[in-house]
Symmetry: C2
Subunit: 159 residues, 2 copies
């Protein structure tokens, strides 16, 4: 399988959005995607981009993407967070995901980050095994907490 | 207990750093803090701040702090992440933490974020109960993954 990895451009966002929707469908949450292609174009490619995106192409077609942004750890300093790493279903197992992860780690290293973080479903054993092999630590005792848009409204109305 | 909440200034960073160190000691990881007061001053108060910090004062002394930054969800859009919410030990139970959380939610709402996120230790039942009461969702099946500074070096040397 021949493929190449490069930084995404604004013009790639429709295809990147298709990958995001595909993953949501796979995770049985198709309606959870409330963003649009325009959101990605505006928020990722303005004067202060909210994220950085990389894509992997096979024969000139985007088949995988990685989306990341900076975080800050009070213990470690600047960190890079990998929000999404998506390989389209028919292209899994050919190394596109691993190649993208390589580029993400290089990107973080070049930026001098002290940590690269992401999140994984605790039942996704193949992914966890892969990440561990790569040297990552799974923090099993930390849970993610979300206050969603409605939760924010409810919170403020109750005060 | 009379207290007030305000945005932190660069001059507050020595005291904020003391709170960060105190929490690390409480979590039995005093050596895990690799940042310095200078890191906080430079990274939080430059031309492109990496975080926003709020403090709660009692009689003009900072007794609690909240530290946050923006994230991006491919499903929801811009999000606010609460990295740390620390109340000094002797001042717990007086409402400083809840007052800071109120201000964090207001801050996020004013910025138009679609989500406010944070992380919690899965055995910290009092905290989890408090967050749930506030309308937050605990994503028990998502684990946090870290590739630390040494892990990044090892990863790249193995390629």
């Amino acid at each position: 399988m021949n493929f190449s990895v490069r930084s995404a451009t604004k013009e790639d966002m429709p295809r990147v959005f298709t990958l995001i929707k595909e993953l949501a469908l796979y995770e049985k949450e198709p309606d959870a995607v409330e963003t649009t292609v325009e959101d990605l174009e505006i928020l990722g490619f303005g004067s202060q981009p909210k994220f950085h995106c990389m894509v992997a192409e096979v024969d000139g077609n985007i088949q995988a993407m990685a989306l990341m942004y900076m975080r800050f750890s009070t213990w470690k300093g600047i960190a890079l967070h990998l929000e999404d790493l998506i390989v389209t279903k028919k292209m899994r197992g050919f190394g596109l995901g691993a190649a993208l992860l390589d580029e993400v780690v290089k990107y973080g290293s070049n930026l001098g980050v002290k940590r690269i973080s992401w999140e994984v479903l605790d039942w996704n054993e193949p992914a966890i095994k892969f990440y561990k092999k790569k040297g990552a630590i799974i923090l099993r005792d930390w849970d993610v907490v979300h206050l969603d848009e409605q939760g924010i409204k409810d919170y403020l109305s109750k005060r």
